[in-house]
Amino acid sequence: MDPTFRAFLQSWDWRLDIIVVLLAFGLAYTAGWLRLRRKGAKLANRWRLGSYYLGLVFLVIALMSGIDTFQTQLFFIHMVQHVFLFMLAPPLLLLANPMPFLMWAIPGPERRQIARLFTQRSRFRKMLVSVTTPTVIWFIFAANLWLWHDPNPYNAAITNDFLHDIEHWLFFITGLGFWWHVTNAAPKFHRQRTDAARMALIIMVYFQNLLLGVAITMSPDVIYTHYESVPRVWGISVMQDQMLGGLIMWIPGGMMYLIALLILIARMIDRSERRARMGDQQRRLQLERVPSR
């Protein structure tokens, strides 16, 4: 095996803070899933549990494997890490609809108390609704993405652990906000979460992502000068690395949005076909009821 690739596979940075948080969420979800399963809730199915675990596995890989330790040397590895953090882990976690399961992991009296925060009259809910509209989420998502890809914050974050952790948390949280609307996971506050609204949100996010990916790929100069100061790996030059990183953002990154868009289109077509079939059936029944002359 190539010694550099072997080093990549062996370069794990076991961070206790991350392990504790992920383990706590994994176990809380499992506890809630088991409780709801015992109550016979259809919601608690195996694919949801699998999706949640897979989302956690992507977070583990993104934050502690060679992807995290090599991103200081290769820009494209850093872009892979970002794709994991806001395009792979969040949709997988949200497809598992974690809110009810996490709530059911909490003991009954405390669960009921927390649930009050989400009732129709709750001020907390009203505040949450106003700051998480699709437009606000799109703006925060895009601003965060562009901010961290500006050379100054980028170079600062890559040498400062604290800033770097903040960057990753923001990517993950804004990713959760965006995919929360797309997957329609609980809590469902927003009335206007129609398929068309969700598709519009995906298209808006897709285009700004595309623009950033293209801008990085096509740049004639080195944008992220940090990489000029570090030893090169696998003989990839700084410019090649930058182009590769831009391409990862542009193509595999964009693919996630397109997949989500296609799924929503397929669902829309399926629903309208079902509606048309039901309409046909009703018309046929009405015709059968009309006595022939």
Binding site: R6, Q10, D13, W14, L16, L23, I158, P231
Partner: protein, 184 residues
């Protein structure tokens, strides 16, 4: 024991196990830190070095991360030593071997050092391989140790107290409500 209690007990046991298995070094060795040598040519090599934390005091453990390149790429089989000499006083010095085991990124070598006096220290990186040897130096200033505020512990403690306070307060409120119901 109910299922959720079993899970909580297993969570605590798992966390304790993980805490005892993960070496302290690995937990803290994230990122590169401040670059002190930028591909400096010495013998047949180019040396890069970083120090972490960004500003160091006499209580800190200093991590010196080193990467070695030759014309074929990264050199992964070098013997590396880091020597730190206090000011111009050769009598006060600290030495450590830089190894892949210490580094989170296995392409790098890392040496842990404690520099117990405040002021300027000269650090020399010595490289030995079958292909030749090299040496590169840099200096750094160590500050006097100050009582640092453990913000993460304080934050965690406040969070813990808030959760416990919420649970206890909620239980007391429920018990009172139940008593009132029984009276009426």
């Amino acid at each position: 024991m109910s299922c959720s209690r079993q899970i909580i007990v297993s969570l605590v046991v798992l966390l304790l196990l993980i805490g005892s298995v993960i070496p302290d070094r690995a937990v803290r060795s994230h990122g590169l830190g401040k670059q002190q040598l930028e591909r400096v040519e010495t013998g047949p090599f180019r040396v890069s070095a970083w120090t972490d934390p960004l500003s160091i005091d006499t209580d800190d453990e200093l991590h010196v991360t080193i990467a070695i390149e030759d014309e074929r790429g990264l050199v992964l089989n070098a013997d590396i030593e880091v020597k730190a000499v206090y000011g111009d006083d050769d009598a006060i010095q600290e030495r450590a071997r830089a190894t892949h085991d210490n580094a989170a990124n296995k392409l790098h070598y890392e040496a842990p050092l404690t520099l117990p006096r405040e002021g300027r220290w000269d650090l020399t990186v010595t490289i030995e391989t079958d292909q030749g040897s090299g040496e590169a130096s840099f200096d750094l200033t160590v500050e006097a140790a100050e009582t640092s505020i453990p913000w993460s512990w304080i934050g965690g403690g406040i969070g813990g107290v808030l959760v416990i306070g919420f649970v206890v307060g909620n239980r007391i409120r429920l018990a009172r409500q139940e008593k009132d119901m029984q009276r009426t």
